[in-house]
Amino acid sequence: MLANEQTVEELVQESYQHGFVTDIESDTLPPGLSEETIRLISAKKSEPSWMLENRLKAYRRWLTMVDPEWAHVEYPEIDFQAISYYSAPKQNQGAKSLDEIDPELLDAYNKLGIPLDEQKALSGIAVDAVFDSVSVATTFRQNLADAGVIFCPISEAIREHRELIQQYLGSVVPYTDNFYASLNAAVFTDGTFVYIPKGVKCPMELSTYFRINEAKTGQFERTLIIAEAGSSVSYLEGCTAPMRDENQLHAAVVELIAMDDASIKYSTVQNWYPGDENGKGGIYNFVTKRGDCRGDRSRISWTQVETGSAITWKYPSCILRGDNSVGEFYSVAVARGMQQADTGTKMIHMGKNTRSTIVSKGISAARGQNTYRGLVRIGQNAENARNHSQCDSLLIGDKCGAHTFPYLEVRNPTAQVEHEATTSKISEDQLFYCRQRGLSEENAVSMIVNGFCKEVFNELPMEFAVEAQKLLNITLEGAVG
């Protein structure tokens, strides 16, 4: 039996495919955080003064807050003065076309499988490429503009779409929300802005690809998606980073707003560097994501495949404010090596006849610790609200852990709330059965894991479902090869 455990252990040893560093000259602020740093960031972004005021307000608030400790994760205290809060590749400033972008940068994205050249891009998918603190390119903007869709870096939106930004930024996740959201509101550098006008079905999949490259920098991006009445959009984000020995902080805020009959589908394939098998290095992924179903019959759907990061702390949530609105959360989270994941969702039912669905699949391998934490709250006016939650955990090996913390708060007697949870283990019997039929152990593990995740992968846009499946194979692939 021992021999088998060792092979399973080998199987879950990492092989991180995106660990390269791009050698590019960058404009990087020295480490440290003060009002001065924030003024510098704001100036580099040529921001209007109201934006700077917002940032400073958030910073002053943040100074009064403490790092939350309730999550089931452990890490040494973060020294916020040791982080650089701004880093941008030098030549990019003001690039109007791909010809003006440093070929090293284009090459980095090619290596990641995200060609920024529209001719070579995946058809039907527009990409905003964020490198460290700035957006370096946004493809298919013209095609989208023809449909009335705004898809641009958020720093540009702050300058050019002032009314929308002032009305919506911080309206779902206020700067007072939590420690990392306040920090983000103070120092965010770039991210993506999406606006879908009334009645428009966005003609392309939109996506943002986040890349951390510089050492000792943090990435603080901000995404805002607004879907006006009767509109719909599908958006996907991907993330990777080089393999480095130190931990790097990624603290993003994502806000979604769906008006009457609008629908937003937000998918994440997160593959930040997870650190080595002894827990050295890796990204701290401390993210606040929240969607507001503001209109009646609106729908927000979160799908996430979380395979990377040393620590993941995120709860993409839905506020079901509009009557008959729908919130969904589909998640696959992998914790292997020394990874820790504390992730889940919040479904806040406020409107009548609101419905929510939660499907969470946690995979723990090696010494990984995977926690599902979810809140379902049915407010007193939420007549006939319904929720169904399903939380499944899969264990590979016997040194990992799976934990489930469901919180239910029901204040209306007409609510129907269901919670199901299972924990299973890839057994020696299953592996033997597959191998006896000629499959390698790797194939067997990947087949069982993919079967376990099927319900969630079915929710991803097709191209990405294939990617996610491949990523999961790589993530759990062993020395065998």
């Binding site: 019997d429 039929r437 499959l439 079967g451």
Partner: protein, 258 residues
């Protein structure tokens, strides 16, 4: 070791196996010719399952002495899946469930893994579906079960038929059926036995591991062996199985001890 006869499929010599430090097989010898069916019977704890798991390469079975040659090749040094590629098939006593893994996909991956290892071309989806449907009809497996997850929620009889279907697809040289009859009612037993009989061939050897002689009413073995305390203590033809049915194992184990 022994000189192999030209028509030998499997030659086991002095096989000694430990499980968790305890010796279970004590120098077992067995010679199986091509196209032959051998029934191995014996009381609980005599080592029947240890033999099937050792031959198919399950972890945790430590071979401390002896050898097993498949078509002249050292079987015991091969990985589990390599043995499957060489044509060793074990129909399990308790086929496991693989939730989320589609039965048809599983069988196709399995068949193609074996074909790849043999340097044969993989079957495309269409040819595979045709093949698997035809074979499923032969073993009277409800085609709906092909669309379900592997063995998930299958009845005992359906699980065993699903095993025989995989055996029919993989066309093994050496099939080991580990208590395939256990837990089957008489109708299910007949269907499974028909499936196995249909797979009799001059190029295929079959080991039937069973407690009861009733399976042998449907599948006529060429040889019957009695396993006791990790050794074959008596071999004969099917008359031996009938005698065991009447008189139990006591007389043989006593003779062996004497």
């Amino acid at each position: 070791m022994n000189q192999m006869k030209p028509n030998t499929m499997l030659s086991i010599n002095n096989l000694t196996v430990e499980v968790e430090g305890k010796t279970i097989l004590h120098g077992l010898d067995l010679e199986i010719g091509k196209g032959e069916i051998h029934a191995i019977m014996g009381p609980n704890g005599s080592g029947k399952s240890t033999l099937s798991h050792t031959l198919s390469g399950r972890d945790g079975y430590q071979v401390t002495a002896g050898e097993a040659l498949l078509d002249g090749e050292d079987l015991l040094s091969l990985e589990t899946e390599e043995r499957a590629h060489r044509g060793v098939f074990l129909a399990m006593q308790y086929p496991v469930e693989l939730p989320g893994v589609n039965n048809m996909t599983f069988m196709r991956e399995s068949l193609n893994a074996v074909r790849r290892a043999r340097g044969e071309e993989e079957l495309d989806a269409v040819s595979f579906i045709k093949l698997v449907r035809a074979k499923a009809a032969e073993v009277k497996l409800d085609p709906k079960l092909l669309k379900r997850d592997v063995n998930s929620g299958f009845s005992g009889g359906e699980k065993k038929r699903n095993e025989i279907l995989q055996m029919a697809l993989l066309e093994p040289q050496l099939a080991i059926l580990d208590e395939t009859d256990s837990g089957l009612d008489i109708d299910a037993l007949r269907i499974v036995a028909d499936g196995i009989n249909a797979l009799r061939s001059p190029d295929r050897s079959i080991i039937l591991i069973t407690h009861y002689q009733r399976l042998l009413d449907y599948i006529e073995p060429d040889f019957v062996h009695v396993l006791s305390e990790g050794r074959i203590v008596r071999s004969g033809d099917k008359q031996l199985a009938l005698k065991l049915e009447e008189q139990g194992y006591g007389w043989i184990t006593q003779e062996a001890a004497a």
